[in-house]
Symmetry: none
Subunit: 206 residues, 4 copies
DNA sequence: GATGAATGAGTCTTCATTCAT
DNA sequence: CATGAATGAAGACTCATTCAT
């Protein structure tokens, strides 16, 4: 009754040869840049394969659909951002310091991955991608909220709804990254300083 | 010198009959809900006219293209938001108070116009609409920055880059509206309280 | 959640103008001949619209999909055949005579609608169309079986499973139509005579 | 004069190793079931090799094209059916008895090879396969017609067009196999009894 | 022998837009 | 003003077939 899947993407991730792995990476990288520049819908699969210089079939060898490719891009990006943040925060230290490090790491990542930030923004507007995006964001918020809760318990910041505050921090920081770094071309570290000052101020004095 | 105009599109706003105005309003309202729900690209003109129960010709009588319709929606929304904010702030008073009133008014408007917020978000990701969106946002930021500058001059908040701070405020507030009001269904006024507390904290103590 | 249908095929059958009705008829007629000649799958929608000299969109104005077109063709043909048979049998008379008239009418229809017979044959081999075909065939068999049951009750033919016998009659007759009339080009009436003789013999003497 | 052959396709039947034979048998068996279930066109080569768990190259090692595979399937089936019929009829005996044995043997084979019957039916609708199918069917009809001619000469059945009658027998029997055995799941022997009774009745009394 | 990767023409379908009536 | 019909370029996706490794 159900057509047996065919092609390399049978189970979770078909084993690909080195050449295959490379092709897939090429396609993804090009797709990210195109999606960011022209948008998801206006970018056709034909354009993607042409940009990489391969036949149309190649795309469907590596990805089930254009939609799946986008989801994969989304997941990869979220994993990478999470990793960057966690690496930056490193071993335990004061919770407020961890929040600061998180803000700075995120800002740096966003500065370095302007295209992916654009992808996130689009994903938020499409009912097919919004859930995946939200899940990733919830994780990020939960992490920050965790640090905040610790800080509140330790008395270093006044009590409050940790989740709401974490989201305020995320919103302020991401918006600054987009508007000041991407759009205005300002220096990432300076913007990060301002973001940290603003957010920590907001957290400490309410 | 001028031959009698033909067709309604062409100049800014052809004079429309009352019935015409109503039709146009219907189309716009329906388009907003569809664009918000399914996205701009996945929503077809055919769907819009079917939803309003008119023929395709009607659409092209009132709008030059689907793109123009979206731009018109965008402008209307920005004008309306601006108006809501200005009305709420009203006559002169302390600059920090004006900022607070602006935050509350924006939050209320965003809470009441979930669909339009979605439109804004999409507009940011499409190269054809991003410029228009940006212009509107710059105006909003400039207003807040103006109040901030006044506040700094008056010494009620420490000095700093008013533009960056205004954008941090906008980012935090808008993000909270989306995540706490739209997504979580929280009470707009409570979220507004939290946003105001966070932002004023961020502005005062750095 | 469900995209609102668009275009003319909303409910059962959109009201079409005379011109529209004519276009649809053209497309169907051409499709029947192509499907019969080349088969359903090897015939592309592009070929159909080119054959009628219209743009590709026209096809989808009148039919939801290629599959729906085929089903419509199937239903039309079955209705037409049923009508031809019922007209030929006319008012009540001896049940065996009615069976004979049914055989002759079917044979005549099949002789005149070679393409449609081909469609039926293909429909039987595709899981999407077989059910529809079967339903129509069951009706035809049930009619003949009804006459047969009457004949058995009246003692004009020996008893037996009326359904099986009706199907034997259908099978023999249809096969003869295909092989002798369509393939060999024999005269329809002569083949009908042979079919009637064979079938009535088979029904009377067991 | 002849250079050493390269590749296995080319002449009728390259000699295959035991493993090769087995592989080919597997592919054919799987193809039969798929073609029968989903149809020839909707079944892709990719699906076939995936189902057998081999790479695509294997398919083209054993078969020139998908079309050739189908033809091979068709020929095999026709040969097998012919063989079954001839074996069942066995040594000379009364011609009418031979016809009966032929009907029973065919019915049994059809009952046991539902998938292949489906293949036959599809083959009839495709211009590329119909000729091959027809040739096989003509042989079967000719055999039955031969017995019939003998019977007519011996006076055991009234004279008539032996070919037409043989085809009526084939049509009735095959149709019963499909409708009563395959579709309704009736017992093959019972259906065979009914078919024999009907057909012999039809042959004897006209 | 066998495989995974590649090809690219071809398939069905959609959709913004136009226009005769 | 309004409609239904038409257009045709463009889109996502498929698939028989080939071939380097």
């Amino acid at each position: 009754m159900s057509a047996p899947a065919v092609g390399p993407r049978r189970d979770g991730d078909r084993r690909l040869t080195a050449r295959g792995e490379e092709r897939k990476r090429q396609l993804k990288a090009f797709a990210v840049s195109r999606f960011a520049e022209k948008g998801y819908h206006p970018t056709s699969v034909a354009e993607l394969v042409a940009g990489v210089g391969v036949g149309k079939g190649v795309f469907y060898w590596y990805f089930e659909t254009k939609e799946q490719l986008f989801l994969e891009l989304l997941h990869d990006a979220q994993r990478d951002l999470r990793h960057a943040r966690q690496t930056a925060i490193g071993p335990a230290c004061a919770p407020v310091r961890r929040i600061e490090l998180g803000i700075r790491a995120s800002m740096r990542w966003w500065a370095d991955h302007r295209d992916l930030v654009n992808l996130f923004q689009f994903a938020a507007t499409d009912e097919r991608f919004a859930p995946a995006l939200r899940r990733g964001q919830e994780r990020a918020v939960a992490e920050t909220a965790g640090h905040l809760t610790e800080a509140m318990a330790a008395g270093s910041v006044p009590g409050g709804d940790a989740d709401v505050l974490a989201q305020a921090v995320l919103g302020a920081t991401l918006h600054l990254a987009r508007e000041r770094i991407h759009a205005q071309g300002e220096d990432a570290d300076e913007v990060a300083d301002a973001a940290v000052a603003f957010c920590l101020g907001g957290l400490h004095h309410r």
